[in-house]
Amino acid sequence: MNCRYVQSRLSAYLDFELSGVEQQLIRSHLEQCIECSEEFESLRRTKELLRQMPVVASRSGPEQVLLRVRQATPPPRRAIDITWRAPRWWQFAGGLALATAFMFWSRFHEGISHTQGTESSSTTNFTVSSPILNSISSPELFSSYRPNSLFWIRRSANPVTEPMLLPSVSYTDPMLGYQPVSDWNGIAAEPKMIDVSR
């Protein structure tokens, strides 16, 4: 522990911001070294002087601040936007529903995939319960076209140019007090209010 190291840590030592061991090492060094202890003493004085600085009061009160706050800024977005979150158990229920759906789906397809599978391997009594597992185990099935597998809803050939499947009305949060802004360029400071009770 040399003087240079000690002197670089004196402020931290003064503020009790060092580890216990370091704090003790520096203390024992300060007891021996005159130069370092003088340096420490002057820094301690400086801190003491700073701590005795009086609190200054301002001429204008917080009213001035509030006035400027009102003038300068629109209220924070969150103030109007009441966010409603689904309860936590909904997520579990959703997951459970998905799992159940997958189970039924795979059950439903089991017969098909089984009949397809047994043609090639009839000697084994190993049955695959899911068509996905089946397709992984047999690459020729995986690569083949299976139109009725996942998509119960008909997919259009070009979903972008075919707007039939897209909702025509954007979803409006019933808890929201105003209509969602469709034109962000021409947004006014005041949100357009609609009467929800009607």
């Binding site: 670089s8 609190v55 917080p62």
Partner: protein, 199 residues
């Protein structure tokens, strides 16, 4: 009650919460700003700007941390960014006469009423002025670190969070800031550092 009314009531509630925070912390915030900027006019500007900013981002305020920690982060960053851009801060001596805009020749800069309590009278105004001026001579990062540590009493960890730096940086800023300040005061009033002068 319509949902519109609910929304307005929420807005009112937030506004009232913010107003309360402003009333409660304005004095402390102003004091910090005054020590940072060094004069009343700039301090008022800084505090107002910081509160405006705080209000704008009030929805991001995490209620689990003290408001002043969050607010001081805004204030300090605003100060370091804005005032560094302006270049070196003009420092005004308190008893120096200056020309006011309205032609009032020889007016002295009137400082806000400090009202020191009897304990603080141990240090006379001359010394206080020297310390205050010494603070103004520090680089803005050092000054912010020293003010937060010694005037506001934050820990190094909190300062690191407020200033967005590492604890090591905070430590060195405080150390170097204090050393520069000590040298400045020592040059003006060496008797303050003589043995047994203070207490």
């Amino acid at each position: 009650m319509t949902h519109t009314a609910v929304a307005y009531r929420m807005e009112d509630r937030l506004q009232r919460e913010f107003d309360e925070l402003v009333y409660r912390h304005y004095q402390q915030a102003y004091n910090t700003a005054y020590r940072l900027t060094g004069n009343a006019a700039d301090a008022e500007d800084l505090v107002q700007e910081a509160f405006v900013r705080a209000y704008r981002f009030f929805d991001r305020y995490d209620r689990s941390m003290p408001f002043m920690n969050w607010f001081n982060r805004i204030l300090t960053n605003l100060y370091i960014d804005e005032y560094r851009r302006r270049g070196r801060l003009r420092t005004v001596s308190i008893d120096e006469t200056f020309n006011a805009e309205d032609g009032e020749e020889g007016a002295t800069l009137d400082l806000p009423d400090t009202q020191p309590n009897p304990l603080e009278l141990a240090l006379n105004n001359e010394y206080l002025e020297a310390i205050h001026e010494g603070l103004q001579h520090l680089p803005s990062e050092f000054r912010a670190a020293v003010v937060l540590a010694d005037l506001e009493g934050y820990s190094y960890e909190e300062i690191a969070e407020i200033m967005g730096t590492s604890i090591g940086t905070v430590r060195s800023r405080i150390h170097r800031g204090r050393k520069q300040l000590r040298d400045y005061i020592k040059k003006r009033h060496p008797n303050l550092f003589e043995r047994g002068d203070l207490k």
